[in-house]
């Protein structure tokens, strides 16, 4: 998207011009997906509840229904957060190769976006777990992986605050960004492959119906657009700040 090996990402390049439009498009797509999820896509076998029922001491009429619907948001958000992490790692590598501050800025912002989406993933995931399994938390592979991902992203951002010297900060955080990107898939594999004797291994849905797939696809596209637009907007803000700082310094001299 923003990668041009010959040219550094800078504000005012074409992505900035399309960013607002993309944001609107993303919002529209997400809304369409949202409506689809509730109005068009039929619940998967037996997920509908006929009338109100007493579950867990409270009157619930749509428990499973909601857990189904949450999934439509949970998955795209989770994918986008990992995408953002991948982008951050990509920029981290570029930084280490070129030692260009711009890539450090890009990596940092991608990480921030990643954190935003990871938090959303965690919230939707919690809700899903609560509705589906009746507990707020379980050490299920995906949840665990995202918890670790969230912790690493937070650690990355905290680390940036703990180092004053700009170049050192950029180098160290780039290294951590790459380590995070390598670590997270391993984490998923390890938690997935080792059978747990204490918790039941959750077998997820066998497959998605075409409507479901379409709906998830639409929301996914929407979320990607939103993520991209947010990234560009934040990038613009940070870059302008940096340029103001540079001008200030020049004036001081």
């Amino acid at each position: 998207m923003t990668k041009k090996t010959t040219k550094l990402p800078e504000t005012g390049q074409w992505p900035d011009r399309v960013a607002p439009a993309v944001l609107v498009a993303g919002a529209l797509l997400t809304t369409v997906g949202f409506l689809m999820a509730f109005l068009v896509v039929p619940p998967v076998g037996g997920a509908a509840v006929g009338g109100a029922e007493l579950i867990g001491g409270s009157l619930i009429s749509n428990k499973l229904l909601i857990s189904q619907k949450i999934f439509f948001f949970h998955m795209p958000v989770a994918m986008v957060s990992f995408c953002a992490l991948a982008f951050a790692a990509y920029y981290c590598v570029w930084f280490l190769v070129t030692r260009e501050q711009r890539f450090d800025t890009c990596a940092k912002i991608a990480m921030e976006i990643s954190l935003l989406f990871v938090v959303m993933t965690m919230i939707t995931g919690e809700m899903w777990t609560r509705f589906e399994w009746g507990v707020w938390w379980t050490w299920e592979p995906r949840l665990t992986t995202y918890l670790v991902l969230m912790l690493i992203v937070i650690a990355y951002l905290v680390l940036r605050n703990m180092i004053d010297e700009p170049e050192r900060r950029a180098t160290f955080s780039a290294v951590i960004g790459i380590i995070a990107f390598v670590d997270v898939p391993i984490c998923f594999m390890v938690t997935r492959l080792i059978p747990s004797s204490i918790h039941p291994v959750v077998v997820r849905e066998g497959g998605m119906s075409p409507e479901m797939g379409l709906c998830v696809g639409v929301i996914m596209a929407g979320m990607l657009c939103v993520g991209f637009a947010l990234y560009r907007l934040r990038f613009r803000q940070v870059r302008l700040e940096q340029r103001v700082e540079a001008v200030k310094e020049l004036l001081e001299d």
Binding site: V148, T171, D183, P195
Partner: protein, 255 residues
């Protein structure tokens, strides 16, 4: 104030030896041995790190003793003990790793190393090895001590000695990744907190696999057959990938 106006004539004992004896760059392995020997000699002289890690391990066991004092002994303890053991290892290694690089920073020694014609990967390997040695020494003391205090709770199965394998594999990974992370955090504010913050999530997969393998070894029976090999293989896989990554990235961290 002396003002020796650029007088190379005044030349006491120090004579520049013949430049013919230009140093030959030694092999990476020789340098590795030199670095490792330095770390070991320094540590076994002061015993600073070993003693503090050992005491810390004992203290964690004491805390466990309090935490478990109202628990009912029985077979369930075996399922928990693997995890407890690894919590002990993780916290103790955090303490050691935090210190391992402090010595290099103290007098700017790390710069002295980097001034030498020396591959940065060698520095990483030597440091990781010395961390591994210290960690294993502490484990050799702490693990039997753990069972000494908690043998009244449950007796591990016959396959218990197999847990040496996950302990070694886990320690290798901890030392490798920990060396990279502690080098990074030695240069930050709030070193120890920062190290823990980075170390625990990054080490998570390894920890998970090692706890699984250790528990399997302790419980024995079906669990052993089902889980042990797979967990150990995953832990070893983690070691290979992460140590390789750390080794490659180390160059950027030190310069």
């Amino acid at each position: 104030m002396t003002r020796s106006q650029k007088a190379p004539a005044a030349r006491p004992a120090a004579q520049a030896p013949a430049p013919a004896a230009r140093p030959q760059r030694p092999s990476g392995f020789a340098q590795y041995k030199t670095l490792l020997g330095k770390d070991l000699r320094q540590e076994f002289r002061t015993k600073e790190m070993l003693v503090s890690m050992g005491i810390y391990a004992v203290l964690v066991i004491v805390v466990y003793g309090v935490a478990l004092s109202f628990a009912r002994p029985g077979g369930e303890f075996l399922e928990v003990s693997g995890g407890l053991l690894w919590a002990l290892v993780v916290f103790t290694s955090l303490l050691g790793l935090g210190r391992s690089f402090a010595a290099e920073k103290e007098n700017g020694c790390i710069e002295g190393l980097l001034l030498a014609p020396l591959d940065r990967g060698v520095v990483f390997l030597a440091k990781a090895t010395s961390n591994l040695v210290f960690l294993l020494v502490v484990e050799v003391i702490a693990v039997p001590l753990f069972w000494f205090f908690f043998s009244s709770f449950a007796h591990p199965g016959a396959s218990a000695p197999l847990m040496v394998a996950p302990l070694v594999v886990g320690s290798v990974g901890i030392a490798g990744v920990g060396t990279l992370l502690s080098t990074i955090t030695a240069n930050t504010r709030g070193k120890d907190v920062m190290l823990a913050l980075l170390f625990v999530p990054v080490i998570f997969p390894l920890l998970y696999a090692c706890v699984s393998a250790t528990t399997a070894a302790l419980v024995g029976g079906d669990a052993l057959a089902d889980v042990f090999g797979m967990s150990l293989a995953l832990a070893a896989g983690y070691d290979v990938i992460m140590i390789l990554a750390s080794w490659v990235l180390y160059d950027f961290v030190v310069s």
